[in-house]
């Protein structure tokens, strides 16, 4: 079945170390490759050397202020989407789950489009003070609001009813999307373009200012998800079975939802609505190493980072000097790839 099963060493912990270690190494490599290419031509080795020896030239500045923050941001966004996708697939006990199911993307879109379209008229003071953070802040508020609403609806007798959450998610998504539509109707041409580009997604980020906060808001939640692999495995057996095996089911589900909301909410607020990674990366990791969440969750965090940073490399360089929206790249490559995956599974090739 899975590629790692064919490996001679199948003893628990060394398989985990092997897979995660490999993924980590690939991630570092991917980061360095992404750092080496871009519209601005640089010799990366020379640049890194010059940065370390306090001898900064224009190329070094471009790498340090423009490309490196973007690569780091890409790794963080990918980590958030990959890890959250894996955790949600466990919580919904469905390999087709994805962060958009709990309203994050549509809530964020509603927040963002509100900021773009009516922010200037309804809250000009806030918009001016927050400047280019206004859209991410509103997007995050939208994402958090939608998720909390869905979770609240999904709570019944102190239990997190996943089926209810799914239904609530559908309803909230529909409401948010019509809200977005209404805003688009009110929008003028320029706002519409801004919104379109936001929706398609972009990892462009202005310098390092926001990155420390983004890093904390992403790495802490996905880290928590990564260390709960064993409990997530048990959760797959069923809520009651998991409780029999010592899992505090209510606390675990709350942890999953809040971690997903915080990490993906942050990612999506700054990068726009990006899909696919949360759905496909956990699949790939499972294909590679089996369904054990002690490997799948951290593996998806690393795998998501790799996919994101590579997709952004394509987005930045395929049509130089234009930036292709990353949503298009992921869709154009991820879509057919996922289709192939499903078909290959069906024909039992994989």
């Amino acid at each position: 079945m899975s590629i790692a099963e064919a490996l001679p060493a199948r003893v628990g912990i060394s398989k985990r170390s092997l897979v995660l270690g490999t993924l980590f190494a690939v991630m570092v490599l991917a980061g360095l490759v992404a750092l080496s290419f871009g519209a601005y031509p640089v010799n990366i080795v020379r640049v890194l050397h010059s940065l370390l020896t306090d001898d900064v030239d224009r190329a070094g500045l471009v790498i340090a202020q423009v490309r490196l923050p973007r690569v780091v941001f890409g790794l963080l966004v990918g980590a958030a989407l990959g890890g959250s996708g894996a955790a949600l697939q466990v919580m919904f006990r469905n390999p087709l789950a994805d962060p958009s199911l709990i309203g994050i993307s549509s809530g964020a879109a509603l927040g963002a489009v509100s900021a773009i379209v009516v922010g200037g008229t309804l809250a000009p003071g806030f918009m001016a003070w927050a400047s280019y953070y206004a859209i991410p802040a509103m997007a995050f508020a939208g994402a958090a609001g939608a998720t909390l609403l869905i979770v609240a609806i999904g709570q019944a007798n102190g239990r997190v009813d996943v089926a209810m959450m799914l239904l609530a998610g559908i309803a909230i998504n529909a409401i948010a999307q019509s809200g977005v539509g209404a805003m688009m109707f009110l929008a003028d041409d320029q706002q519409l373009r801004t919104l379109t580009f936001w929706t398609l997604g972009s990892l462009a980020i202005a310098g390092w200012d926001a990155l420390p906060a983004i890093a904390v808001a992403i790495l802490v939640p996905v880290g928590l998800l990564a260390v709960n692999g064993r409990s997530l495995n048990r959760l797959l057996l069923g809520d009651i079975e998991a409780a029999h095996l010592g899992v505090d089911v209510r606390r675990l589900k709350r942890l999953v939802v809040l971690s997903v909301a915080l990490s993906v909410g942050t990612a999506v607020s700054f990068a726009g609505a990006i899909g696919f990674v949360g759905l496909v990366v956990p699949h790939l990791v499972r294909l590679l190493a089996g369904p054990d969440n002690r490997i799948v969750v951290p593996g998806s965090i690393l795998g998501g980072a790799i996919v994101m940073v590579m997709a952004d490399l394509v987005a930045r360089t395929a049509a130089m000097p234009e930036d292709i929206p990353i949503g298009l790249v992921l869709g154009a490559i991820g879509g057919p790839f996922f289709l192939w995956l499903l078909v290959a599974r069906k024909w039992r090739v994989l």
């Binding site: 202020q65 280019y132 929008a187 041409d189 202005a206 000097p321």
Partner: protein
């Protein structure tokens, strides 16, 4: 991984060094490397004879022909930071509305000089725009001369238009999407140019660009349909536009009063604005009503 060993101090020191270097490069006007963002900005720089300073422009810079051959840095509202920087500009001249904000922030954080030029909606605005750009590129005297020429031409066309009695209503077709027509309302560059040409937008109940229904269009019954040439090409030409389901029953469509004009010329509000007004006015009111009084203004 090197990331962890980057010191902010080093980076800031580098920034400061570059920022210090910048003005020295800029004051030698002949050594400038300029990226122009916005078709009318690029166009103006060509008219001022400073096009040799240009190292790149955005994708909306389509006039003159030579401008199309400049290295491109993306669409005006979706600039690529590294793309701009790879041209090693000393200054970026941007038309108001360039973006995205993230890219502009990024560019300033690297210490590149960014100058924004305000949007123009009248001949007076265009004159101010020309003078500002002229100052930026060190062509003050050419700028004053060009501004005067444009002002004079604007006045002449203005007089010709004022002499016409009719005030035809105009439907501006920005795009057709999913059967809905995107059209222009108040407070748009379209309204401004149509007014200068002695016309009136058929829709003035809303601001900006909005979708309208076919019924609303039918009810409005415009005298003329106006659109940008590239949109017309995409839809199959002026005849095809006249046959679009949403427009086919309009008087204007049936009588062949569909006007397609180059987008940059029509809405750019650059030095060729008086030319645009004349062309549009002649199409709106008829060639007898508006004489061809201007020698075409061309950049080399």
């Amino acid at each position: 991984m090197p990331i962890t060993r980057l010191r902010r101090r080093q980076v800031l020191a580098g920034m400061a060094a570059t920022a210090v270097m910048m003005p020295r490069l800029a004051t030698g006007a002949g050594n400038q490397r300029i990226v122009s963002v916005g078709g009318s900005v690029t166009e103006t720089i060509y008219f001022l004879g400073r096009d040799r300073l240009l190292v790149g422009s955005d994708s909306t810079s389509s006039y003159p022909e030579a401008a199309k051959k400049l290295p491109k840095v993306g669409y005006m509202r979706n600039l690529s930071v590294e793309g701009v920087l790879s041209l090693e500009p000393t200054m970026i001249v941007l038309e108001e509305g360039a973006g995205p904000p993230v890219a502009l922030d990024s560019l300033s954080s690297v210490g590149v000089r960014m100058e924004t030029v305000a949007e123009a909606r009248s001949v007076a605005d265009v004159v101010a725009k020309i003078k500002r750009i002229a100052r930026l590129v060190g062509a003050e005297s050419e700028g004053d001369a060009l501004a005067q020429t444009v002002a004079d031409r604007g006045e002449a066309v203005g007089k010709a238009v004022a002499a016409v009695q009719s005030r035809p209503t105009v439907l501006f077709l920005l795009d057709v999407k999913d059967g809905a027509l995107m059209t222009a309302g108040r407070n748009t560059s379209v309204e401004a140019i149509v007014a200068l040409a002695g016309g009136r937008l058929v829709f003035d109940e809303f601001e900006g660009f909005k979708p309208v229904t076919a019924e609303a269009v039918q009810h409005a019954d415009p005298d003329v349909i106006l659109l940008m040439q590239h949109v017309g090409h995409r839809l199959g030409g002026e005849d095809a536009v006249a046959q679009l389901p949403a427009l086919a029953h309009l008087r204007a469509a049936q009588e062949g009063r569909v006007v397609a004009m180059d987008g940059l010329l029509l809405l750019g509000f650059g030095p060729r604005t008086p030319d645009a007004v004349q062309v549009l006015a002649r199409r709106l009111h008829g060639e007898e009503a508006v004489p061809d009084i201007l020698e075409p203004l061309r950049a080399e």
